[in-house]
Amino acid sequence: MSASLQKGINALKEVIDAPVASYFSSCVHCGLCAEACLFYVETGDPKYTPIHKLEPLRRVYEQEYTLLGRLAKMVGLSKPVTDDELESWKELVYDSCTMCGRCSMVCPVGNDIVYMVRKLREGMAVSGHAPDGIKGATKRTVEIGGPMGLKWPAVANVIKKAEAATGEAINVDKPGADYLVLLSSMEIVNYPEYLEALVKIFRKAGLTFTLASDAFEATNAGIQIGASDIAKVIVSRIVNSAEKLGVKYVLSPECGHAYMAIRWEGPNLIGRPYKFEVVHVLELLDDLRKKGVLKVKDKFKDPLILHDPCQIVRRGGVLDAPEPLIQSVAENYIPVVDKQKWNWCCGGGGGASAIHTEEAEALRAKAFGIKKRQIEQAGVGTMVTFCANCRIVIEEAFDHYGMNTQLLGLTELLAEHLED
């Protein structure tokens, strides 16, 4: 057995806990999880059945933690997990799983499948079987600061533009501000108007915010690849900076996995609660809306549907904010059938959008079929969402299918229609 495989198996042994043992002991092979998975639903290929994606983890569990499994292993009756197997599982654990968690919603015996995929990735990453695209993103985040290799000057540039557009100075590294605002690289590169929107909204609300030159990146590639040690390093940058600046709140950007990383995984990675609160930008906006701070001057007229990003809504628990916010700014909001915690993933979460092999891209486009039908069935020309990664993935899919649907970010849409 190679040293890296041994490390991978040790990592798997380490992440197996009572829930995992209970889940594997409960599975009756009913296959209902497949019906909740966009990759199975769109391809019809049974290999994409979520519980099947966990087979290496299940076998390690059985061979290491059950009496009969250990006996079978001793007499050589069990099939050991090999490097070849993990390599072939890469597609199932990364390309065709966005950790959207929809499968976990339907399992009749209550198996939290996405909880286990997250754990399996620990073993995949450490044994060297993560896809190159995510490896690269992780390496860039550790060495340079963000998954796309952006450095502070790029952020400074966006700040300068936002200052010019809004006529307002933006704080950097300012101690004692109410909020530390985090960005995701995709926002910096593709959606710089997000920062302008925040300036406008904070001014309205009478709140202050700062950016931190040593902690601007909210996303955490360590979590997507499944390397907790790296994830801890990345999240610590934010924690150290926020606690040094003494802010009350850290504002997670729209980006879904960033929210999951900083809000839910972060404290567990560093082993303690923070000295500040993490707030998702939609939670702040909804709070301001309830207080009557966010008054719109006019509404967006065209009919539109909402795409609920998995990590913010279904997995992150920001369930109640999005709909009232969109209703406050859109005149013709059309709810889709599978909405809120039942929404279907864009197809590119969980690091999948960083995988650029031909097969992964083709699969992603195919999996988007379900979103495409949602748009067509609602008969709308506009979709609104609140995750920078979803936006990139969806725009790529629009291009792929030649759809002329308009995609908008919720925060910017609100900012655009705010009273001056």
């Binding site: 197996i16 806990d17 009572a18 829930p19 995992v20 043992a21 209970s22 889940y23 002991s25 409960s26 599975c27 009756v28 092979h29 009913c30 296959g31 209902l32 497949a34 019906e35 909740a36 199975y40 019809g44 049974p46 290999k47 059945t49 519980i51 099947h52 933690y65 059950t66 009496l67 009969l68 976990s104 919603m105 339907v106 399992c107 009749p108 015996v109 209550g110 198996n111 939290d112 909880y115 809000r263 839910w264 995984e265 972060g266 404290p267 567990n268 082993g271 303690r272 609660p273 609160e277 279904r314 997995r315 992150g316 628990g317 369930l319 059938v337 599978d338 915690k341 039942w342």
Partner: protein, 219 residues
């Protein structure tokens, strides 16, 4: 061994062995699973009504929106044979008498003609779900020896019990002995196969409810 001796054995030593393995097996498996424990979640939780372990233990008994349409046989067949099994095991008068002789407690039963009907319906449902397992690509793909084996283990007590009551195929004594033997096999294998979900289903649902409930998501 004649048929009486056979029946005496399955009622005596056979039953003791089976129940012994069953009880020790269940205990061992529960310890093996739940003593693994889990790390405490130190992220400050979000409270939402309906998001808890206990809520999910009950909620998962009801199909999620749209799912019955996607896999009708799993749900309808599944409900029928689970409810059927429970009715037969716990509300057939001879079974209640057996529990009374072992546990000393009894409860009212259901008319035996009704149990007859339930048994036929339950067997039919099990045949249908078996056919679904063969027919549906995902189920066939997931299936291993254990799936066919546990189906057989569950089906045999139903079939032999029904044949016993109907006085069909074999002399009553032999059929009854076979029925008891089939139950003993079921008991012996239950803790070590997927049939153990009968116990872990509650823990699994509770965990998923609790883990997601911490983030304020009712699952």
């Amino acid at each position: 061994m004649n048929e009486m001796q056979f029946l005496t054995w399955v009622r005596g030593p056979g039953l003791d062995i089976a129940v012994g393995i069953f009880l020790l097996g269940v205990l061992w498996r529960l310890i093996e699973i739940y003593l693994l424990g889990r790390k405490q979640d130190v992220a400050p939780g979000r409270h939402r009504e309906g998001a808890s372990g206990l809520h999910t233990v009950f909620r998962r008994s009801v199909p999620p929106p749209g799912m019955v349409k996607r896999s009708p046989v799993s749900y309808i067949g599944g409900y029928i044979f689970h409810i059927g099994l429970a009715l037969i095991v716990f509300f057939f008068m001879p079974h209640i008498l057996f529990f009374k002789s072992v546990l000393g407690i009894s409860w009212p039963g259901l008319p035996s003609q009704f149990i007859d009907l339930v048994t036929v319906v339950t067997m039919a449902a099990m045949v249908v779900v078996l056919f679904d397992r063969i027919n549906k690509p995902v189920k066939r793909y997931l299936s291993t020896f254990q799936d066919w084996f546990t189906w057989t283990l569950t089906f045999l007590p139903l079939l032999t019990g029904w044949l016993t009551v109907q006085h069909l195929l074999l002399p009553y004594t032999t059929m009854l002995a076979l029925h008891i033997l089939s139950v003993e096999l079921l008991l012996i294998f239950l803790p070590f196969t997927k049939l153990f979900h009968a116990f872990t289903v509650f823990g699994s649902r509770w965990y998923i409810g609790k883990i997601n409930g911490h983030r304020g998501v009712p699952v």
